[in-house]
Chain length 260, copies 2
């Protein structure tokens, strides 16, 4: 029997934090036909709330350390503030959204990252995506909205990169669906010149990607998206595409499609 | 066909805020056989976080006003921090918990309370409990964990009393289940002398209740529980009982059962 289609769409903080950008995105996401899952991050707002509460963000080599206080911030901002607002807004436009952290229905089981060589604190590496839960919800007509939180199955919540949650979910769900993975952000795709939208790379092979990283043309937040994207392609995900909101509703809109 | 049993258990902040009390409760809740729903409040922790962020709690006649800043606190603390920790802890003990705000799957649709005579801000009065959603989750083997948040279906989250969410859920679910409603708190039941656990009223008729309110023997937080409890009894809920955690697992343990 032919598998049904499932779109997994990941949005970053730059979409969530700006009202106008967010509303445009939600409209487009809502217009996507068929089964779909939204995955969101939201780093900026977490830093703002942490700042107001006098909690310091801790970084080692530019990477965030999740101590107990910062985990509470993640629970509050990702799991509460952002997730519930996104769900309420999707519901308003007729999308039967249901918010999930990785603990909810055991959606994302993870293990705490080993403290060597760097102790990232309450950071979770994904062990298992609960495909039966997601299938139950999707077949019930619901649209899961997942935030950047997992749990260890022993009562501990963990912080997990939303790019990785999106790719691992896309991979796991291939057992039931043909999955497509979309990384939506504030650029039309991978650009060779960050300041020129016309410099978009519409097809990016893994070899070219590695070269562009080596020459510093691709850096920062693009790397986890692309690493996760190629990983997904190697594990039966049918399509991985990066770009702005417009690519969701207009298949002719420029975007970066990656290939092995 | 005989309807299945469903227990709706509501816990207040005094259970959630103390680790030992919470763990004892979760163990007992987990031991309850059959279909069940947990509803939680969490006022104290919300006030603490609001304080840390320099956000004032606003009260009129002792009742909390939910302005935009305090609604964000409710989303963060009820929907995020407390809900996700409870869910993770239940998952650890083998209970397939799934957290829900009223927006998730349109679980609790409400309307913003009219601003006259007192403007309570973003306070929601329940319009409809989504029984099909709860039935889908329960039949999927899941245990919904609901927090004190609803939404208006137009994109706005709202603050809604957890005692009322519990009773309205118990009432709505009578269409599919025989429902029992339990209010769990830090006393063994309704006491005629607050400082004497032996002064428990094991059966409380509505007439006696009204008298005890008139003579100030019952006051404060007991009133919404009991008002909601009698309302539930009038709408086909089979059992309404108030007491501490022990009543869940020991049917001989003293508790207050209310009757019309």
């Amino acid at each position: 029997m032919k598998k049904r289609e499932l779109a997994i769409v990941k949005i970053g903080g730059e979409i969530v934090n700006d009202e106008q950008t967010k509303n445009l995105f939600l409209e487009s996401f809502n217009a996507l036909p068929g089964a779909k899952i939204l995955v969101h991050g939201g780093g900026k707002q977490a830093s703002e709330i942490a700042g107001k509460m006098g909690i310091e963000s801790k970084l080692v080599n530019g990477r965030r350390i999740t101590d107990a206080a910062n985990l509470d911030i993640a629970l509050m901002v990702y799991g509460g503030l952002l997730n519930k607002k996104l769900v309420a807004e999707l519901q308003a436009s007729g999308c039967a959204a249901i918010g999930l952290s990785g603990a909810d229905g055991n959606a994302i089981l993870a293990s705490k990252r080993p403290p060597e060589p760097v102790d990232f604190g309450f950071a979770g590496d994904i062990e298992k995506v609960n495909t039966d839960l997601l299938k139950l919800l999707l077949e019930g007509g619901l649209t899961p909205v997942m935030c950047a939180l997992s749990h260890d199955g022993k009562g501990q919540m963990l912080n997990t990169n939303a790019d990785t949650i999106a790719s691992e979910t896309a991979i796991a769900m291939t057992s039931y669906y043909n999955t497509q993975l979309y990384y939506v952000f504030d650029k039309p795709g991978v650009l060779t010149d960050m300041n020129d939208a016309n410099s978009i790379v519409t097809e990016l092979s893994e070899a070219s990607y590695r070269e562009m990283v080596a020459t510093n043309q691709i850096k920062d937040g693009m790397i986890p998206k692309l690493d996760n994207g190629y990983h997904a392609l190697k594990h039966q995900v049918g399509l991985v595409q990066l770009g702005n909101t417009n690519m969701l509703t207009d298949s002719q809109h420029p975007a970066t499609r990656i290939r092995l």
